[in-house]
Subunit: 333 residues, 2 copies
C-alpha cells in the first residue's frame, strides 16, 4: 500500500485537520462528532442542506460545503457510513429555522443512519426532510444497496439544490427540486484499477493488466461485467448507451455532461472521454449546454471514469450557473 | 499501459478537442499550430500572457487560460516542448498592443523554443519579454535543464501575474512582478509511483513497492534520492526543510502554501500533507496566509506530491485574491 498517510486509523481525522487549516475562511470542522460546516452557519431563515457519507470520495462531500452548496457534510470512516450522532449534530448546527434537507446517497447504511438522525433532530425541534439519490444505471441492487446506488448525480444535485436554498427557496420547494434533479440524472462508471482502503491495506479487488470493470461502484463493488481493455471511445459508448436508454434521453434534450475521474485518472484522459461523449450526444440531437470535467466524486486512488448526464430545465440551468464558494467548487459571485 | 485513450498519437489532439467542447464559453482552440486562447483574445491595451510546455501536466497550462490568468497556452506533445511556430502564433493571437510576456518553465527545450518564438514574433512587430521559472530546489541541473527546473511555482506565478495584466499593469510592471514571484517561490516534489508516457507504453522509471523518490521532476526525471517509504509527516519534513533553508524563509514571513498532487494522488492524502506542512510552518513562526490544495501541475497519473511555498507581499496577496475565470481555476468576480 503506497499512500501519503501516517497511521491508517488517522486518515480521516488528519485530512479533516488539513481541510480546516487550508480553508478556515470558508468552513469550520467539528471533530467529535465529526462534521464540516460552513463558516457562517446557521444562516437564519435559510433551508439547511446536509449531506455526508463514507470518506474516500473527496472532494465529495466536505469540499462542497460553503455558500451556495452544502451547509454541512458528515464524513464517515473510509467507505463507511457516518453515524447518526454526526448527522444529528450537523443538522442542528445548520438549522436556521427554515428546515433542513438531508441529501443521502442510496447505500443501506447511509439511508438507515440518516433516517435515525432525522428522527433524533426532529425530536429536538428541527424540521427535516430527505432525498435519496440513486442515479447509477449499472446495477439494480449491489453489495451495499437495495436499489440503485447514488453516485455522480449527487455532485450535480448538491450544487443545484444548494443554489436554490441559497436564494431563499422554502423547504417544500427545495425538496421538490431535489426530487426533480434525481429523476432527471443518470450515471455509469468504470474502473481501470482497484483502490486500497487504508485500514484494509490490500486492494479491494484485482483487475488484470488488460482488464477493466464496467459499471463499477464508488466503493469498488462489482459492476456489470469485466472485459478486456478497450479504446476510450468504445468505453464511452458502453457507459453512455445504458444512460441514454434508461431515462430515456431524447433528441432536443438540453443536458449537463459530467465526466468524472475516480481519483487516479489524470485530467488529460478525462477530456478525451468528454470529447467522444459530447460527440455521441450531438449525433443523437442532444445538446450539451453545461459541462463538468474532473475528479469530483472519487474512490481513493482508483483509475477510471464515470459519465453523468443531467436533463436540464431552465431553472436547473440557472441554479447550476449561480455563484458557489466552497473549497472544491467555485464560481463567480 | 492502462489509460483512457484511443491511439497514443492522438492523445494531445483529442484532449484539446475535449477541452474546446467542454469550455467553449471560456476558450478557443487552434489546432495547427496548436494553442489554446481565451475566447475574447486579443484584449486591446492589455499585456498578453502566454505560457506553454509539454502536455501531461494538466490542468497546467491550458486549464489556466481565461480572464485573470493566461491569454494563451501552447501544448507540446506529452513531456515535450511545444514548437516555436506554436508559440509565435499564440503570441500574435493575444497581442493587444501592450506587449506579450512569455512564462517559461526552465527546461532547455522550452527555453530555446520560446526564445526563437520571441524573435519571430518581434520580427512581426510584437513586443515580447519573458520570465523563466526555476523554483525547484531538489537538484541544480537535471536531465532536461541547465539550472533548476520550473515546477509548482509556475501555477502561482501565472495566477498572480495574470491578475496584474488583467488590471492593466504595463509590460515593465508585469515583468518585474513575474521576476519577484519567481524570486520568492520554492518547490520540492516526490513520487510514490512512476507514470507512463503514452507513446512509450512503459513506465518512465520503476520504484519498488516500498520505495519512493524524493526530489522527483515533473517528467519523472530523477530527484535527490530513493528511499524506503515513510509516513506522510516524515515525507513532508524531507520536502519542506530544503525549501525553507533555500530562500531562506524566516519567522514572520507571510506565505501561500501550495500542496500539489502529481495526478494520481487523491485529495484526502493531499490534505494530510497540508496538515503537517502547515503545522511545521506555524512552529517556525511562518504564517500560511493563503493556500492551494489539489492536482494542479501533474505528471500524468504519477502518485506523489510537491510542496510549494511562496513568500507573499501585500500586492501578491491582492493579486492572488483577484477574480479568475478559467477551465480549472475560478474565483469569484
Amino acid at each position: 500500500m503506497k499512500k501519503l498517510i501516517n497511521a491508517a486509523d488517522d486518515v480521516v481525522h488528519e485530512a479533516l485537520e488539513g481541510m480546516a487549516l487550508a480553508h478556515g475562511d470558508l468552513i469550520r470542522v467539528n471533530y467529535d462528532p465529526a462534521y464540516i460546516v460552513r463558516a457562517d452557519a446557521p444562516v437564519q431563515g435559510k433551508v439547511g442542506i446536509v449531506s455526508g457519507g463514507g470518506s474516500g470520495h473527496e472532494p465529495l462531500h466536505g469540499g462542497f460545503v460553503g455558500r451556495g452548496m452544502l451547509d454541512a457534510a458528515c464524513p464517515g470512516a473510509v467507505f463507511t457510513s457516518p453515524t447518526p450522532d454526526q448527522m444529528q449534530a450537523a443538522t442542528e448546527a445548520v438549522d436556521g429555522g427554515a428546515g433542513v434537507l438531508h441529501i443521502v446517497k442510496n447505500y443501506t447504511g447511509d439511508v438507515v443512519n440518516f433516517e435515525m438522525a432525522a428522527e433524533l433532530a426532529e425530536a429536538e425541534g428541527s424540521n427535516v426532510r430527505s432525498v435519496v439519490v440513486d442515479d447509477d444505471v449499472a446495477v439494480k441492487d449491489s453489495l451495499y444497496t437495495a436499489g440503485r446506488r447514488g453516485v455522480g448525480g449527487t455532485v450535480l444535485l448538491e450544487k443545484v439544490v444548494g443554489a436554490a436554498a441559497e436564494r431563499g427557496d422554502d423547504l417544500d420547494a427545495v425538496v421538490a427540486l431535489a426530487e426533480r434533479v434525481n429523476a432527471n440524472v443518470r450515471t455509469m462508471g468504470m474502473a481501470l484499477t482497484s483502490c486500497t482502503v487504508p485500514a484494509a491495506g490490500e486492494p479491494t479487488f484485482t483487475l488484470g493488466e488488460d482488464e477493466m470493470e464496467i459499471g463499477i461502484g464508488i466503493h469498488g463493488e462489482p459492476g456489470r461485467e469485466r472485459l478486456p481493455l478497450q479504446p476510450a471511445d468504445r468505453i464511452v459508448d458502453r457507459l453512455l448507451s445504458p444512460i441514454l436508454e434508461d431515462l430515456p434521453f431524447s433528441a432536443g434534450d438540453q443536458t449537463l455532461l459530467f465526466v468524472n475521474g475516480m481519483g487516479g485518472t489524470p485530467l488529460i484522459e478525462l477530456y478525451i472521454v468528454f470529447r467522444h461523449a459530447a460527440s455521441v450526444l450531438r449525433d443523437r440531437g442532444i445538446t450539451v449546454q453545461r459541462s463538468l470535467v474532473g475528479n469530483w466524486i472519487t474512490s481513493l486512488e482508483m483509475a477510471g471514469t464515470s459519465l453523468t448526464l443531467l436533463r436540464l430545465d431552465d431553472e436547473m440551468t440557472q441554479l447550476w450557473d449561480a455563484p458557489v464558494l466552497t473549497p472544491a467548487l467555485r464560481k463567480g459571485v
